[in-house]
């Protein structure tokens, strides 16, 4: 199953590499969101400093919606979903592969965005280990929930509007946990960031298990 998952992930990443959508559209979009937050809050510098973690993860959620919509679109065009099923690939492998591909793209974007908050918001990183661990663990949860809900709305005509309505409330715990962990990593608020990392890991594990179980049903029936 994991070999198939790797194949699916490589397929999605190859498509992204050839289309350059992440590099040419998603990264600039993420950067633009950070700049807009800066325009909105720069007049009140202490507020911008205190809100950096939250703004970073709100921007990540916006980017995640775009990334999930791209990932879903790959399978909905030209009947690729049916082709995947006919190829005999286990749905759980498809889910894990697509989750990995979305997670990797998001991590690349987040790496650029960390540079963005350091330069634009003058953020100082107190704990690079906590920051990196938060990015990885939170992003896996975001990618898993996004891939599951992306498949859920794949056959819906209004999927562009339905996906955010479904995905953002589901990702709210990630926003809370990752923001608190970032507050610790950036030294803006005295909280135990590693404890919040546990919540993020639990969220990711639940979504991976649910996604692996439900993805087959969604692929076949929606």
């Amino acid at each position: 199953m994991f070999a198939d998952a790797l194949l699916v992930a490589a397929k999605d990443l190859r498509i992204e590499w050839r289309s350059r959508v992440t590099a040419s559209q998603v990264v600039p979009f993420a950067f633009l969101v950070l700049v807009l937050f800066g325009f909105a809050l720069d007049a009140n510098r202490p507020v911008l400093d205190a809100a950096t973690g939250g703004l970073f993860w709100i921007a990540v959620l916006f980017v995640a919606i775009v990334a999930v919509q791209r990932s879903t679109a790959i399978e909905t065009t030209d009947g690729a979903r049916r082709a995947l099923l006919l190829a005999g690939v286990e749905p759980a492998a498809v889910f894990l592969g697509k989750t990995a591909a979305v997670a990797l793209q998001l991590l690349v974007v987040e790496a650029v965005m960390v540079g963005g908050i350091v330069v634009l918001y003058d953020a100082s990183i107190e704990s690079i280990g906590l920051l990196a661990a938060t990015c990885v663990v939170a992003t896996v949860g975001i990618a898993a929930a996004g891939t599951l809900l992306g498949a859920l709305v794949a056959g819906v005509r209004a999927r562009e509007t339905v996906l955010p309505i479904l995905l953002l409330p589901v990702l709210a715990p990630v926003l809370i946990g990752a923001t608190r962990a970032f507050d610790d990593a950036l030294g803006t608020v005295a909280v135990d960031g590693w404890a919040w990392l546990g919540l993020l890991a639990g969220f990711g594990a639940i979504n991976i298990v649910l996604g692996a179980l439900a993805y087959g049903v969604l692929l076949e029936e929606t």
Partner: protein
Amino acid sequence: MTAPAPAPSHTGSRTTRLLGIAVVVGVIALVLLGFFAAPEDDEQQDAVRMIFVHVPSALFTYIAFVTTAIGSVMWLLRRSVWWDTVAGAAAEIGVLFCGLTLFTGSVWGRPTWNTYWDWGDVRLVTTLILLLMMIGYLSVRSLGGDERATATRAAVIGVLAAVILPIVNRSVEWWENNTLHQKSSLTDGNLEDMTLFTIVVGLVVWGLFFAWSLIHRFRITWLERELRVSDLDLALRERRAEGHTEDGDS
């Protein structure tokens, strides 16, 4: 061919009428008990009477969403239209109760906590997340299109939302330092007898209302589905009849 059964003019029955009457009588009794029999609190004064609406609303929010989760699992396991209809009906009532819980909590919070809303309170925030997820659930149910696909989509969200239920329920114990909520008043034994009695009456009334509205929403949804199926059958029969007529003409 037998003639189709006449469409019912309403979704009521003897049982639901009795239930409805019991709800009305119960609400009147609850108002009288809540305002005149139950004593005011030493600290919160009259604001404590909000407990008679807030606690039953919160409890039946859980019951409604657990019902939705069970219905969702049954759809995924058995493709049971009956359970899917129960899940949808329970979700609608759950959203109503959840909204009522947040509203009464806010109104109660103003005199006791000096604020309508506190973003640091885990139970408030997790309850709001639950409400938003279930609104998403209802949005998916209203998308239309293929009924099996819609039921499957909704069922997955119903199960996903159920994951957050224990977090909402246990949040006060798990994050003691991040909540303004107190631990359960019902189990700590500090309530006055008449207050406890009125809360129990509130729970019974809310239970009856939940049953009454669940039955009616179930019947309406079921009849709407029957109507869609019979309309389709009728349209097919008409097209076939047209085909026979054209064959006869030619």
